[in-house]
Symmetry: D2
Subunit: 273 residues, 4 copies
């Protein structure tokens, strides 16, 4: 028997399965379109596949998901680009299916011009020897919690248990100091963001000075420029970290990357297959 928000319902097929719908044992992805085309689906699918494998969940074949999503995007009949959330749990796993939620994407051009304001979370990122950082799962819900707690800011920077910079609750972070671009390594405890990867591709295509290494808080706070990357917006500059640390926004390096971003991704076939 199952009580939902309305009533007690006699269910022939009572099982724990209903609990499985809601218990967060799931993996998910957030995607977007550019010019109505699904961006970097192969990278998202690959990450989804690894997460699902770790959790013992089945996902549909690449071609099937791709087709269904493209059909859904077309049906949406949107004037603008859209954001898509995909979720796989035990329930969809059994049916070799998935949930997808499509909604219009709100572009935030003015923020890209002025830069955003961040805070630093006082809560450290949990050190998790059970579920590896590369697994994008709602079983690791601290970032969902922190996003809500610090929603007065564009994002909150999370430090790991040793106090090194890791990522935001919904973004990866890069700093520029004396012309060198630096971002924390996967081993610092971050999710390997798809946009992060594409931005690194872009940086390397320009042969810019670039390092992946642990970043101390004081290094971040004395940087010349800081920018975030995440699926919905691509690259976005940071102008202030509260209380009083300010940065060029966009600085010259950040602006260069932002300017070349669209051209770069649109002309690379591998992001559109």
């Amino acid at each position: 028997m199952f009580y939902n928000t309305e009533n007690w319902i006699e269910k022939n097929e009572y099982k724990n399965n209903d609990f499985d719908l809601f218990n967060g044992y799931s993996t998910y992805e957030t995607l977007r379109t550019y010019n109505k085309n699904l961006f970097a689906f192969s990278l998202h699918y690959e990450r989804l596949r690894k997460s699902a494998m770790f959790l013992g969940l089945d996902i549909p074949k690449y071609e099937i998901m791709n087709e269904i999503l493209n059909e859904g995007i077309k049906n949406q009949n949107c004037k603008e680009d859209v954001r898509i959330k995909i979720l796989i749990n035990k329930y969809t796993s059994k049916k070799k299916s998935f949930y997808a939620f499509i909604e219009p994407l709100i572009e935030i051009e003015e923020l890209k011009e002025s830069g955003v304001v961040l805070t630093i979370s006082r809560e450290r990122k949990p050190k998790n020897p059970v579920i590896p950082y590369y697994v994008k799962t709602t079983l690791n819900g601290y970032s969902m919690y922190l996003r809500q707690k610090y929603n007065a800011y564009y994002d909150a920077i999370i430090l790991n248990e040793y106090g090194y910079v890791t990522e935001g609750t919904k973004s990866n972070i890069f700093m520029v100091t004396a012309g060198v671009i630096t971002t924390p390594p996967i081993s610092s405890g971050i999710l390997p963001g798809v946009t992060r990867k594409v931005v690194i591709d872009l940086i390397e295509s320009f042969n810019m000075d670039f390092e992946e290494r642990n970043i101390e808080v004081w290094e971040l706070l004395s940087a010349d420029e800081i920018f975030l990357t995440h699926t919905s917006v691509g690259i976005i500059p940071v102008r202030r970290i509260v209380p009083n640390f300010t940065f060029n926004a966009p600085g010259i390096t950040t602006e260069t990357l932002m300017n070349y971003w669209k051209d770069f991704i649109i002309n690379k076939n591998e992001y559109w297959e």
Copy 2:
């Protein structure tokens, strides 16, 4: 637009809310009946209330939940006792409602007589400075993951990041050494189990020697007796921890507690209000 396992569905009221249904941002409780009566609901409700408060979720009033659950148990019309899972997420929170799943409880008397076999998880319990241990939420999904991984055993003992004994994936743990009963403290990183609390009440009612303190692995492995506590079974003895550590099951202390368990709880009004 929303794609579920069957098809794309045009929804008038599109929202992220559908994602909220599944994203694990929720708190839950598992309860049971004894003699068809809901056991220790006030203790479970109190824990649910604290968890929900931390997560910013609303829950129905005590009286309302109590009434609905009792009605549901009656409707179930079961010959045996039942197990009830309650879940509150953002969706139910908005409606001041909740999900409840009721199913027949399978008693496992033979295991209580022979004792169960445990393993020790190689994965350490994540140290989580974001979500406190007292919050029972699917946002902290490692125990769900470990329960599945080690399902060849009755339960898997999880050590904390320092290697101290904490709890099982679905139970609390007690050891008896030279007549002294010991269990890890809340500060070791455990969920404050309701049955754990009631067992401590029982131990104290007998004036038995009892300590809450950090337990080293070798202390556990050289104990005379070990038992687990969890809602579905109450108290259950451990006869072996793999590979080759054996224990009296049930030992004399464990057996005493098991024998007095039902009488103790049935005669204490506070567990039935």
Copy 3:
């Protein structure tokens, strides 16, 4: 047989004891005089006593040490104040004796006026569950190592394993933000400095706003004023933390404390007993 820097020496009483002279199994204290009088000896003696007790070392009685040190200071016949280092190891322990080294104290008035420059150590303070932080022993030699490594700066701030501010290699640290004075608690992993304690006495005598609590790096770097305390200099302002974080030096709060420092200590009998 014992080979020292000159030669092999036949020793009648050969023993490991010679190794004990040098192996760092010792506790020590650094003291100073004001107006040729030994400052806060009772506080230093109390800390020495606790350290020695932990290490199982014997120290001479308070009155005997006090007398010997005062005699030594007199013999020194110095025009200026002196600094005294005391060391107790297994060798002196057996003889109920101690080593003491007296040297002229170089006052650094100009630094007190202009403030000093600090760096932040990239090495985290070791988390040491063997030897508690209150034990001042050469068995815990990381600060000696870091002092040498970062000797281009007045001192290096050490963070603990979680990235919180603790202390310098030879000093304790205070910050002032919006009028509130804050210093890390003993539990952050610091040695309870004698001057730190006396400065807290002074702050409390003025009823100034004061907190002992964990300090995040970004809180320190956005402070209005920072000052250090250590035996040789009392209170000293910080004007910069490299690379580019600057502070009022001395700020108004720091200057107030510096101005009242000598009067405060000279008039309090408990520091001269």
Copy 4:
């Protein structure tokens, strides 16, 4: 001015140097002879060199140290083998010299036959990001402290901060389970023992099954055989870990290694150069 155990001494050349003699800023090695010949000096010298380099200390050239030590051993005129302790601190560093202490080695054949009894230290090995584990220095004095604290046992096993097995206070540890020999890796936080290395050479010369990996406490306690290695004794079996975990001592694998030990080292030129 300098007060030693006897009196105040006027020293012409007053310096902190006297404090440097005793402050534990030093590196050291323990060696032994077999058949009156210095064993594995090149391995000890290499480790000494690395430790000294980290600490910024100078050591004499290999040939000079070798010659002086051999001369000292000859002068000792001992009937039995000897143990030699070498120590380098800032004082000897300046003089390009060193301290050496030679003493007769007491062989403990009966313990090799019956096996020794160990305890497990309740104190975790400090995690030290300042001084790497390969540096053998009295600045890291916890093992000296623990050796004294647990001196009722032959040695105490130290766990690292995560609760994995590392080493004893004066020995490295090996376990044998189902014919596989396992020892903790350097990365678990151990000193790379010279005898440990030679034993691994011996194991590999026999093509025995061997692994270097993190060892959980319960793996150690359920092993078939355990043995220790350290310079003074070579290989020594463990018969019990308190309170009640027992092992074959010596087990068949341990006995094999013990039997071939002397032949193996004596016939390998690299240990005698």
